[in-house]
């Protein structure tokens, strides 16, 4: 498959800005395959891996999403990981603790509303975690600023927050860890 120049540019724009490129994107009330991910996946070995390697990045393909990271091992555990994990755990714990099904977070037409976020952020333990992860401001604004901007979560037609492939992959990793142990 030929490399699509336009898609390649869009991919660069997303990846260089620290965004994850997801396998599916939300469009017209449902999840549809992401043409950028398809482009990346189709030409990964032939083109993109070397392209990013040549400019100093490792193109990481995870199940359902991709992102770039520096080859420098010192940058592996950076602030982004801390903030993203802190937010995802607060979100997951808040939703399940309130009595909602976990699928509320992953179902594209459901999602976590601002009211639920408000309820979650009222928990002192949640505030402690947010503070320990250097997350200032409201839970909703942090989700927008960190998870939304990075493509780890998206807002559906109702304005509710739903986890993208990247966000769901975090929890899959967490659940598989429990199953394996």
């Amino acid at each position: 498959m030929q490399v699509d120049q336009q898609k390649s540019r869009k991919l660069y724009e997303a990846l260089i800005n620290g965004q994850a490129v997801n396998e599916y994107i939300f469009k017209d009330s449902s999840l549809v395959p992401n043409p950028l991910y398809e482009e990346l996946f189709s030409n990964f070995d032939r083109y993109y891996r070397d392209l990013y390697s040549n400019i100093g990045f490792e193109l990481v393909m995870r199940e359902g999403f991709a992102y770039i990271r520096s080859y420098n091992p010192d940058e592996a555990q950076n602030d982004a990981v801390r903030k993203v994990q802190g937010l995802l755990l607060v979100l997951g714990r808040g939703v399940t603790e309130l009595g909602y099904q976990f699928e509320l977070l992953t179902e594209p037409n459901a999602g976590v509303s601002l009211e639920i976020l408000e309820q979650i952020s009222q928990g002192d333990d949640k505030q402690e975690i947010l503070s320990a992860c250097d997350l200032k401001g409201s839970l909703a604004s942090n989700i927008d600023k960190i998870l939304g901007k990075r493509g780890i979560a998206f807002q559906n037609a109702k304005g509710n927050w739903v986890l993208s492939n990247a966000g769901s992959a975090f929890f899959s990793e967490l659940f598989s860890g429990v199953t394996d142990s």
């Binding site: 800005n17 993203v84 099904q101 901007k149 429990v178």
Partner: protein, 462 residues
């Protein structure tokens, strides 16, 4: 007022909603079947409010607890504890009106049924197998009763399981994820399904499996088969045949129960998965919370978790993810020739600058003696043409006047020659020039010379 049992029963059936609600309460409590009198009165009062006055009076008499007690439809009324107990057959009757309210057979009940068949086998083994023998006839009749009872109970059991499975799975399927109450109901429904699966469906399948190996005794259907064999050997093939048919009819329920098991299996897995998810998130959250609290020493400083703290191992799925450094969109234009040219200039000019900054060896031979001689010769020619020239009349523009002369007099004249000519003119001729503070331009051979106009003093003009 005393109302006869049949009329009371008819009225109860006509207003079965009250008793179905009471059965639901019994099932929820899971106790000995006691119903709070207060709840009963509430339900009766709500029903009476919708009736006419005459009807109210009649129904009040019928649904009076003392009347129900007299008709043996209620077996106990404990006013001290404010509870009463419905007669078991009444509960069973109402359960039959709605199969969803039928009771499943518990493990203990199934074990009781199994033991009964085993007891029959042991009793029949001990007695003389001969029709007309009193002991044999009694045992045979007891066995037939047990078979009938088991068939009925198993039928109810299957209906109940089907009903429960439908009701609970509907609850899970129709769940609106954003509705908290529905989510909680669905979680409870999944828990109930799990209970039914483990405590009713699997034991029922065990009961109906002839090859099930048990610690104590043998399966009920195996006992029935052994009895049939025993009777066949004793020369009673018709009785043996009857029992084989009965055994087959009980065994036939295995297919239905298996179908229920398969339909519930998905929900059982879903429940297990949900529990796992909840526990995993809770454990990870608590671990992080613990790590965060261990940093708190009251100083409100250094209470942030380090990015390399072990609690962030799950987040390593995003390890090294770049920071969002800027939000400005990168602009990728289409094919714009102007931009292409600018980019070419940017690169080329840089290259040229680099080249010009490099130290270079100048070859002296490049400027040959011949070249120098030619230069000298041309300068001499310019000097001669200038010395021949004298301005005509008033000259208010020295450059222009000299330019017009040189253009005619000097072969291959260029504007650069004019500059040389002006220099000679000023040094050799005794002109006095005056600035006029205006600018003019001369064009020749594709070049342009912009200059400040100078005029000659009239006195010296000759």
């Amino acid at each position: 007022m005393i109302v006869s049992t049949d009329k009371t029963l008819i009225a109860m059936i006509e207003h079965k909603a009250i008793f179905l609600a009471l059965i639901d309460h019994i099932d929820q409590q899971g106790g000995p079947g006691e119903v709070p009198i207060k709840l009963y009165h509430q339900l009766v009062r709500a029903m009476l409010e919708q009736q006419t006055d005459v009807e109210q009076k009649r129904l009040r008499a019928i649904f009076d607890l003392d009347n129900l007690r007299r008709a043996d439809l209620v077996i106990e009324v404990d006013r001290n504890r404010a509870v009463f107990v419905l007669a078991p057959f009444v509960v069973d009757m109402f359960r039959h009106f709605d199969r969803r309210r039928l009771r499943e057979l518990s493990s203990a009940q199934l074990e009781d049924l199994r033991r009964r068949f085993q007891g029959s086998l042991e009793a029949l083994t001990r007695c003389t197998l001969h029709e007309g023998d009193r002991q044999f006839d009694e045992q045979l009749e007891l066995l037939r009763e047990r078979v009938r009872y088991t068939q009925a109970k198993m039928r109810d059991n299957v209906s109940s399981l089907q009903g429960q499975a439908e009701r609970l799975s509907e609850m899970v399927e129709q769940l609106e994820l954003g509705d908290l109450e529905q989510s909680r109901q669905a979680s409870r429904a999944l828990e109930q399904i799990d209970q039914i699966y483990r405590h009713h469906v699997l034991p029922s399948l065990q009961f109906l499996n002839e090859r099930e190996s048990l610690k104590n005794g043998q399966p009920a259907l195996t006992s029935l088969r052994d009895i049939a064999t025993l009777l066949h050997k004793a020369g009673l093939p018709h009785l043996s045949q009857q029992l084989r048919y009965a055994s087959a009819s009980i065994r036939a329920h295995a297919k239905d129960v298996e179908k229920i098991r398969r339909s519930l299996e998905r929900y059982v897995r879903q429940n297990a998965c949900q529990r796992l998810q909840y526990n995993a998130i809770e454990a990870a959250f608590n671990e992080m919370l613990q790590a965060a609290r261990s940093l708190q020493d009251g100083s409100l400083r250094n209470n942030q978790l380090r990015a390399d703290d072990p609690v962030f191992r799950i987040g390593q799925i995003f390890s090294g993810m770049r920071a969002v450094r800027y939000n400005a969109r990168l602009e990728w234009h289409g094919h714009d020739q102007r931009l292409h040219f600018e980019e070419f200039l940017r690169v080329r000019v840089d290259q040229l600058r680099q080249q010009s900054s490099l130290p270079r060896v100048v070859e002296l031979d490049a400027e040959s003696e011949d070249f120098e001689r030619q230069q000298q010769y041309r300068k001499e020619m310019i000097r001669q043409r200038v010395s021949e020239w004298s301005p005509l009349g008033d000259c208010d523009d020295l450059h222009k006047a000299l330019h017009l002369h040189m253009r005619e007099a000097l072969p291959d004249y260029q504007l650069s020659d004019l500059l040389e000519a002006i220099k000679w003119c000023m040094s050799e001729k005794d002109f006095t020039v005056m600035p006029t503070f205006r600018q003019c331009a001369l064009q020749h051979n594709g070049f342009e010379l912009v200059y400040y106009v100078r005029a000659l003093e009239p006195a010296h003009a000759s």
